[in-house]
């Protein structure tokens, strides 16, 4: 079996008394995309910063491409690309100048740096805008340029920290598209995201990270299987009916209901007995005045997984909950790429 191209073992990072990472393990194999999924402040960025040599871990170790992120930091910087959270481009330089500068800082010669800048601009569909200052670019174009800059050095591994945060929907799709393209070209990628859908769409494997720990890891499908079976989802017409619905449905299904007042929805894991649970629910609600907009059975989405892992209960239970999935994570064989669209 090939050894992982990114390997993190028990990475811990403390900022003063704050434990940003509490010992995370990660493995990413060549040619695959790992999504680091978690809410704000979960430790995703800290993890990326350690793996890209910007930050030293308090303890634990990590290797990228066989190089230790602390000891071999200098050599490692030749082999990685990083596009951070803010599109780190110089607004006053043109797109071409930005990339050329990065090329020069990879110690390419002038001519070579120019050629490479042109190549990458073209690859990212920015050739036409290449001679315009980056401040005239749209948010999506800037992000493209930022990612383009991280590719100038032909990195073996690319790190994208929340590549779509702060982008409008159109730019976001744009970013998705070129991440998929890179994936198809066999790039090795680690990307962080707060969006479940994004992780679902773009990654081969997902590590769910919450308050500094990896609380689950696997393919999108594997994670969904954790919920086991199906999910019953109800939408009510009057949003404040949701709590009453949840109460009425107590005992139906195999787990606790997730109530979302904003969406006016109740989601209930129902195991393999979906139809019976559906009928039972309908019967129970039939006697009430509660108006349903929709009721449906579906496979769990990552939302369900996420809620069951990090939802309200997770707040109290996050400490004990982290140990269990960690243990189960052995070395898994390299997964073939499998994109699951929900």
């Amino acid at each position: 079996m090939a050894s992982p191209i990114i390997l993190a073992e028990q990475l811990v990072k403390n900022f003063g008394k704050v434990e940003a990472l509490k010992g995370i393990d990660l493995e990413v194999y060549k040619g695959t995309v790992l999504g680091l999924l978690g809410p704000n402040g979960a430790g995703k960025t800290t993890g990326v910063r350690i793996l890209t040599t910007l930050l030293s871990p308090t303890s634990g170790r990590a290797e990228v491409d066989g190089l230790d992120v602390v000891r071999d930091a200098e050599a490692l910087r030749f082999r990685i690309g990083l596009a951070g959270q803010s599109a780190a481009v110089d607004e006053n330089l043109t797109g071409h100048e930005n990339l050329e500068m990065v090329g020069r800082l990879y110690h390419l010669r002038g001519k070579e740096a120019r050629r490479r800048a042109g190549e990458v601009l073209e690859r990212f569909g920015l050739s036409d805008a290449g001679d315009r200052p980056a401040k005239t670019y749209s948010g999506g174009m800037r992000r493209r340029l930022d990612v383009a800059a991280s590719l100038v050095g032909k990195p073996d591994v690319l790190f994208l920290d929340e590549p779509t945060t702060g982008l409008d929907p159109r730019s976001r799709l744009d970013v998705w598209e070129f991440i998929r393209e890179m994936q198809d070209e066999g790039a090795t990628l680690l990307l962080t995201t707060q969006y479940l859908e994004e992780a679902d769409q773009l990654t081969d494997r997902i590590a769910v990270i919450d308050v500094g720990s990896v609380i689950a890891e696997g393919t999108s499908d594997e994670l969904k299987d954790r919920i086991g079976g199906e999910v019953l989802e109800l939408h009510v017409v009057q949003r404040n009916d949701v709590n009453q619905v949840a109460q009425l449905l107590q005992g139906v299904g195999t787990g606790e209901a997730n109530v979302d007042v904003d969406q006016g929805s109740v989601r209930l894991p129902v195991g393999s007995d979906g139809p019976a649970a559906l009928l039972d629910s309908v019967r129970r609600l039939d006697d009430t005045k509660i108006e349903l907009a929709d009721i449906a059975l579906h496979r769990p989405t990552l939302d369900d997984v996420f809620l069951s892992l990090t939802g309200r209960v997770a707040e109290e239970a996050s400490e004990p909950a982290e140990a269990e999935p960690e243990k189960k994570r052995g070395r898994r064989g390299r997964r073939e790429k499998q994109k699951e669209h929900v």
Partner: protein, 286 residues
């Protein structure tokens, strides 16, 4: 695509390391100068400020309280060398602001993830600011000539002033870089550098003779390096009259050589502290 295009190993010996550090520094300096060129408002505003200082001191303060301690030199001849030094120090604050801005925009993160020399970002920034301050020096000299100043100690003296002023501005750029890396926020940096710089510049012979200050302030002002630099700049600009006399004996308080040595020692000393300190802070950024 040719996969071999990019170098994959760090420099292997010291000579190569130094060469790459210099070329990386030039790349960064070039980037900063391009910015300066494309956003000239920065330069314009930086120029407004010395003009304001010259006008304020030259036409408001000059005859009010300064004249009595000047001996027999014209205030404008006294003032302008002080303005040159003051302007060099004020001009160095852009280093801190530029670094804080790059930090905020994530550009420093990008640089730190690249296989470039760790010193290059700071060296490139301070060098670019040095070039900018050179432009400002010439503009301020021009303003001086408009209000009645002239170099009266020969071309060599004038070149000496320019060299001194650039050395001072370069030194303060590194101090400024240190502040920028410590505080990280543009607004905080702006407030901090001026809070620090105002007393340092004002409690010196930059604008007024030390002899006219409150007596408890005089020893501080006398040993302020800014005073040495201003007095040296004055000597280089207008000759012996530029070195203030001791109020009781009437003998000049220092020799030109003495001033030059003290000025140089302060510059070298400050650089020896702040260059390594700021590079260390850069390396330790989180």
């Amino acid at each position: 695509m040719s996969a071999a295009a990019v170098a994959v190993s760090p420099p292997s010996n010291v000579a190569q390391r130094v060469r790459l550090a210099i070329s990386d520094g030039i790349v960064v300096a070039y980037r900063n100068l391009v910015t300066l060129w494309r956003v000239p408002t920065v330069l314009v505003f930086e120029l407004v400020q010395p003009v304001m200082f010259v006008l304020l001191f030259r036409f408001i303060y000059a005859d009010q309280f300064v004249a009595q301690n000047l001996g027999n030199i014209d205030y404008v001849l006294f003032l302008m060398p002080g303005i040159f030094v003051q302007n060099a120090i004020f001009g160095s604050t852009t280093t801190a602001i530029g670094i804080a801005d790059d930090l905020k925009k994530g550009i420093i993160d990008r640089f730190r993830s690249l296989p470039m020399a760790r010193s290059a970002v700071l060296a490139g920034r301070t060098t670019a600011d040095l070039a900018k301050n050179l432009i400002l020096v010439f503009l301020v000299i021009g303003i001086g000539y408009l209000v009645g100043f002239s170099f009266e100690n020969g071309l060599l003296g004038a070149l000496g002033v320019i060299a001194l002023v650039l050395a001072v501005s370069f030194t303060f750029s590194w101090i400024s870089a240190t502040v920028g890396l410590m505080l990280k926020e543009v607004e905080a940096v702006q407030a901090a550098v001026f809070t620090f710089i105002f007393p340092v510049v004002f409690v010196s012979s930059a604008f007024v003779p030390v002899a006219g200050m409150a007596s408890w302030l005089q020893p501080i002002a006398e040993h302020n390096p800014v005073t040495y630099w201003c007095n040296l700049a004055r000597y280089l600009s207008i000759g012996d009259a530029g070195i203030p006399p001791d109020p009781t004996t009437g003998i000049p308080i220092d020799t030109p050589e003495g001033l030059a040595v003290k000025s140089a020692l302060w510059i070298v000393g400050l650089l020896a502290v702040f260059v390594p300190l700021s590079i260390r802070l850069y390396r330790k950024l989180t």
